[in-house]
């Protein structure tokens, strides 16, 4: 039981931090992608989308190499005295941020792209600075996109497995998350605990997706009323 609680704690901490970091980094990135006409848009969009199609083990492998003592990131972290990030929670966090990036950036990008930009001109003539416009016009009008991005980023991080196993391994209280614990229990033939874990993750994912659907329906209903 303590093993499960420890894994639950690591999972929640990881998913929460990952989501917060992704919202902070993903918002400007999505804004740029939604509005740019730069020729770098296509390759950058592809890089953002890569984790969706790439086997997680591929991402994990490269990360492991990069974070290792001879990798560029590993050398950097050693130089500033952090030691190696591989097989630590922080390495896991870095991997999760990369792995869940498209699930946060893509909904935000779609939301920003559908925003009528003339409304920003209006706000500018009402003396709102660019940051003020973002805060008081873009965020409220793109709220559904932000909610989708948050939920998808969180849920997807909870559900990751391959990357974690490659980068973080299986250290209780540090890098062992629920999905890894499940794998561990199955390997150890502890099927009762495995059932609890698998069932819990299944219900969690189902409930999250249900809530998203309901929210979407309510939103389109409200928008229909406003028109």
């Amino acid at each position: 039981m303590t093993a499960i609680l420890a894994a639950l704690w690591v999972t929640l901490k990881l998913a929460t931090l990952t989501t917060v970091i992704l919202l902070l980094l993903g918002t400007p990135l999505a804004w740029w992608l939604a509005r740019t006409r730069s020729r770098f848009k296509a390759p950058l969009s592809a890089i953002v989308a890569l984790p969706m199609v790439l086997p997680p083990t591929v991402l994990g492998f490269y990360l492991l190499v990069m974070l290792g003592p001879n990798g560029p990131l590993g050398q950097l972290t050693h130089a500033i005295g952090w030691g190696s990030l591989a097989f630590t929670f922080w390495g896991l966090l870095l991997a999760s941020v990369l792995y869940s990036l498209p699930f946060v950036v893509q909904p935000l990008q779609a939301g920003f792209a559908s925003l009528d930009t003339s409304i920003l001109d209006v706000a500018a003539t009402l003396r709102a600075s660019p940051f003020d416009r973002f805060k008081t016009v873009v965020i409220p009008l793109c709220r559904p996109a932000f909610i989708t991005a948050t939920v998808m980023g969180f849920a997807h991080t909870v559900g990751e497995f391959g990357v974690i196993l490659m980068v973080g391994g299986n250290i209780e209280g540090e890098t062992r998350v629920l999905s890894v614990l499940l794998y561990d229990r199955v390997e150890a033939m502890a099927y009762e605990q495995a059932h609890w874990l698998a069932g819990g993750l299944l219900i969690f994912s189902f409930v999250v997706l249900c809530l998203m659907q309901w929210y979407g329906q309510r939103l389109s209903h409200l928008q229909g009323e406003a028109r």
């Binding site: 003339s118 409304i119 001109d121 209006v122 706000a123 500018a124 003539t125 009402l126 003396r127 709102a128 600075s129 660019p130 003020d132 416009r133 008081t136 016009v137 409220p140 009008l141 009323e225 406003a226 028109r227």
Partner: protein
């Protein structure tokens, strides 16, 4: 805004037909004279020099240089796609591609190397589609700009009163009619303490009744505020009712600019070639008889017109359509015509529809122009040529106020 009491029951009664008709009510315009003096001294005026060359699919070429009076209403009139809206957007700082100078009342908003960002320019902008912030209520929309300029409660209350916005305050934006939206947008712009109010075809998306309503509000605002208006339109009635200073634009160039009456009455103005060619004169009511017949004093001499709502002392703007003016060789006293003016032929030109447009000087004042539209057959029969002295006849009922 001076908060001056202003009520004019007649204004609300104008039907759209009357607005398009012969006589336009211009109301008292004490600003009319100082307007052009100010422009001459140049210190307070609005100076623009704008250039935009856009190649490719949406090819576009704008090049204007203008000095505008810093009070009253300047109308930019012309067909769509002529760059009118781009000028307004450039003044507001929304067109970073436009090159040139923008100086408003001694502040430089744009010059080579200078570009004051939109939110730091003191402009009020009323867009064609009101573009109210959809996630906010009417009151929150009004407060949005007002808060950001540190407006006072008194300003807010006065604006709400002036535009009759009180019953709308708690409404959601989705529950407003088109006319109500534009009223809110107008109030929201005025509450930002602008140095200039930019109006981009604010009536274009409205039906006739709503247009007339908003025009009434605009006419009243014009009287009570000192903020200069820069008003873009392609509608003749809006132009002739609101303009103190008029700019005619076509194809990204200024064709004519000047005091509104001069430009409207200029025989070479594109307006004169239109089907509704005519001249506009400023007149004041001398007398009114029991049947509503007005005796008007005008630079053309005495005119008679029908005006049910006007009283002696009122100042009006009278539009005399060329099609309502007929010409005679002798002074007929046996006809029903009340307005018979001595005129001299200045020039003949071809008007629309195969008719001749005769340019005349009216009365004893050679600068006062009158236009008459008659058939080519009549031109031949009366042997009309420049220098010929004639009598111009205008039915009083054609000059409905």
């Amino acid at each position: 805004m001076s908060g001056q009491e202003h009520s004019s029951p007649g204004q609300a009664d104008h039907t759209p037909e009357q607005q398009l008709g012969d006589l336009e009510r211009a109301d008292q315009k004490p600003k009319q004279q100082p307007l052009f003096d100010e422009q001459a001294d140049g210190k307070n005026s609005i100076e623009l020099s704008l250039k935009l060359l856009r190649a490719g699919e949406a090819a576009f070429d704008l090049s204007v240089e203008l000095t505008l009076p810093s009070s009253g209403t300047t109308v930019i009139f012309g067909p769509s796609g002529g760059g009118k809206t781009t000028i307004l957007r450039a003044i507001a700082g929304l067109e970073p591609d436009v090159k040139g100078y923008i100086r408003i009342k001694q502040q430089t908003w744009q010059a080579p190397g200078v570009f004051v960002p939109a939110h730091q320019r003191r402009v009020g902008f009323v867009f064609q589609h009101s573009a109210l912030l959809p996630h906010l209520s009417v009151e929150q929309n009004l407060r949005y700009g007002w808060q950001r300029v540190g407006g006072t409660a008194a300003e807010f209350v006065q604006c709400v009163e002036q535009l009759d916005l009180a019953p709308l305050l708690q409404r959601a934006i989705g529950h407003l009619s088109g006319g109500e939206r534009q009223r809110v947008a107008l109030g929201r712009a005025l509450l930002t303490r602008p140095d200039i109010l930019l109006l981009d075809e604010p009536l274009a998306a409205l039906d006739a009744a709503r247009r007339s309503e908003i025009l009434g509000y605009l006419e009243r605002l014009k009287q009570t505020t000192t903020i200069p208006f820069l008003y873009v339109t392609h509608a003749v009635d809006e132009m002739s009712r609101l303009s103190d200073y008029l700019i005619l634009m076509k194809g990204g160039r200024v064709r004519q600019a000047g005091p509104a009456l001069d430009v409207m009455n200029h025989p070479d103005a594109p307006l004169a070639l239109r089907d509704d060619a005519g001249v506009v004169v400023q007149a004041s009511v001398q007398q009114r008889d029991a049947h509503g017949l007005l005796t008007l004093h005008s630079p053309m001499g005495t005119l008679y017109a029908h005006g049910p709502v006007h009283t002696p002392g009122d100042r009006l703007r009278v539009r005399i359509h060329a099609r309502d003016v007929s010409l005679a060789l002798s002074h007929h006293t046996d006809s029903s015509m009340l307005n018979i003016l001595p005129v001299t032929v200045l020039a003949l030109r071809d008007g629309a529809g195969g008719q001749a447009l005769i340019e005349l000087s009216a009365g004893d004042q050679p600068e006062q122009r009158l236009l008459a539209k008659i058939s080519h057959a009549s031109v031949a029969r009366l042997n009309i040529e420049p220098g010929l002295a004639l009598w111009a006849q205008i039915k009083a009922v054609a000059l409905l106020v």
